[in-house]
Symmetry: C2
Subunit: 320 residues, 2 copies
């Protein structure tokens, strides 16, 4: 345990290997090549990795029970839409079954797969839903066909961190034009695979005592080794307002994040605080029909521009 | 903890109160009145409570983290369809977001709400999906309009057990014509509400030690107090074949179940073992397009008939 907490590499060494890792690496390379190549109007293409949804921690190798983190994935899905609109290419690293871009007002992502959208984009749905459904399908197809959105699903903490490492080490090739928007709710504690019960834990023997190890803090790895020049934004979600800012500042300094977005479970849809080493600015939802993410992505994109400018002197450029 | 383990009532006393309990009780009473009243062809109406999906165990009162049980809810959803087909009225006590009756081949239940099915039942979907989608919507509407299906969602172990108790004490009014088909994956361990962390558990302090209390075995309450005459079928899911039958026999005797359905995580879709005090019969899937639940419900319904006959002398009757 202690070893894993001190040394992230031993976490990876002990983790169950990623399925289809080679196939994913190939898809990722193809996506990065297509989107980072060439000069786009207003400057070279930026690529953001948006992580979204909660990770699970299996309690048994043949998993019946697991610990999960609350996260609808709504923030990550909404942010992905606004990053694409702002001209970013987006790697959407998302929890299987969590909220998907352009599907926030639809029952489910796979919903889309069940429709034919013809020339007149006729969709047989109830009148009241028709407009939003048509728009969602239109925007979704545009993003997919444009090749600027790559969706990558995960479920467990083991899958998530291995995928994040693969993405990060690849994105490092575009230096400061790469961004990490780490909105996923990542487990703080886990049961190392090798010390995990092989079969379903049996009840009947009185209370169950569990010792969970700390998940190594991968933000340091991301910042210092995987993608040292990338613009990194992490999130701090708390339920206790008294410790929120203090925790955000800690994350900012300890992991050298460029920005920490601080929010409370009770109000995260209405208000966030953007924390940098220079300032703290609170963003509030203005009207209920507007996504808070619209304002957030605008500000974060501007900060990213300044950052790129400072490092490469490619200044005064819009993302696309 | 110890108290809660020995005395189920203290579990309920300490549980967070059910939301809209009165509204639910009213819906339940109305459903039971409609479906238990009157003589149906071949005998009086039977009512089964099908429980489905996994329960969650919150680790914090303002829940960010929780322990979940693996269960797609496919078995409960499929069984509900066959119980309805066999003439039962069904109370479908299901995990929010789990697999829903008639939607097993659809992306999501709420999917249905997005369609208009007109006179020609025209639905604008891809040709290949059109038939299954149309059939699903047709069967679903029939069951809902017929008033013989009541869907009741839950998420936490606290909601599940309080709802089960409400249903059971109500169904007891129809004696042996009531059935419980307990397919839900119910947590064995939980954190009592009053001993639960109020805020998000903080990381950084090294490993996390958790003591989980045993959930009181409510099958005894169901059998002995809530619905003493109901026909009770419980499930035993294991990952280790060596202990499966032994665990099933234990459940049968300890909780006086009428039937225990034993299955292994690796093969539960292809094979189950029906365990009674008289016999053990293995049911296997014959062809891949056929639901195992079709055979299961036929056999369970026959056993239910014998049971009713033995108690009330209402014999040789089909469920409807």
């Amino acid at each position: 345990m202690v070893a894993a907490e001190e040394n992230p590499e031993s976490f990876f060494a002990a983790a169950p290997p990623l399925r289809d890792a080679d196939a994913f690496a190939a898809r990722l390379a193809e996506f990065l090549a297509r989107n980072s190549a060439g000069i786009r109007e207003g400057g070279r293409r930026r690529i953001v990795c948006v992580t979204s949804g909660g990770t699970t921690v299996p309690l048994e190798q043949r998993c019946v029970r697991y610990i999960d983190n609350f996260s609808s994935g709504h923030r990550g899905a909404a942010s992905t839409e606004y990053f694409l609109k702002a001209g970013y290419a987006v790697i959407f690293l998302n929890r299987r079954g969590s909220c998907q871009p352009y599907c926030r007002f639809l029952p489910d992502d796979s919903f889309l797969k069940f429709f034919d959208v013809d020339a007149e984009s006729k969709v047989q749905v109830a009148e009241c839903h028709a407009p939003v459904v048509k728009k969602a399908i239109g925007d979704y197809c545009k993003a997919i066909e444009g090749g600027s959105l790559l969706k990558v699903p995960f479920t467990t903490i083991f899958e998530y961190l291995q995928l994040l490492k693969l993405v990060a080490t690849s994105i490092s090739s575009i230096g400061p034009r790469g961004m990490f928007y780490l909105a996923a709710a990542v487990s703080d504690f886990y049961v190392p695979w090798d010390s995990m019960a092989k079969h379903k834990i049996q009840s009947g023997g009185g209370p169950l005592d569990m010792r969970l190890s700390q998940v190594p803090k991968m933000l340091s790895m991301l910042r210092n080794q995987w993608a040292p020049l990338a613009f990194c934004i992490s999130f701090k979600l708390e339920t206790d307002p008294d410790i929120l800012i203090q925790k955000a500042d800690m994350a900012l300094n300890k992991y050298k994040m460029n920005i920490v977005v601080a929010n409370l479970l009770a109000t995260y849809k209405e208000e966030v605080i953007i924390v940098t080493d220079k300032e703290r600015s609170t963003i509030r939802k203005i009207n209920k029909d507007e996504d808070l993410e619209m304002q957030m992505i605008k500000i974060l994109s501007q900060n990213h521009s300044k950052y790129i400018c400072g490092i490469t002197n490619e200044c005064n450029q819009s993302p696309d």
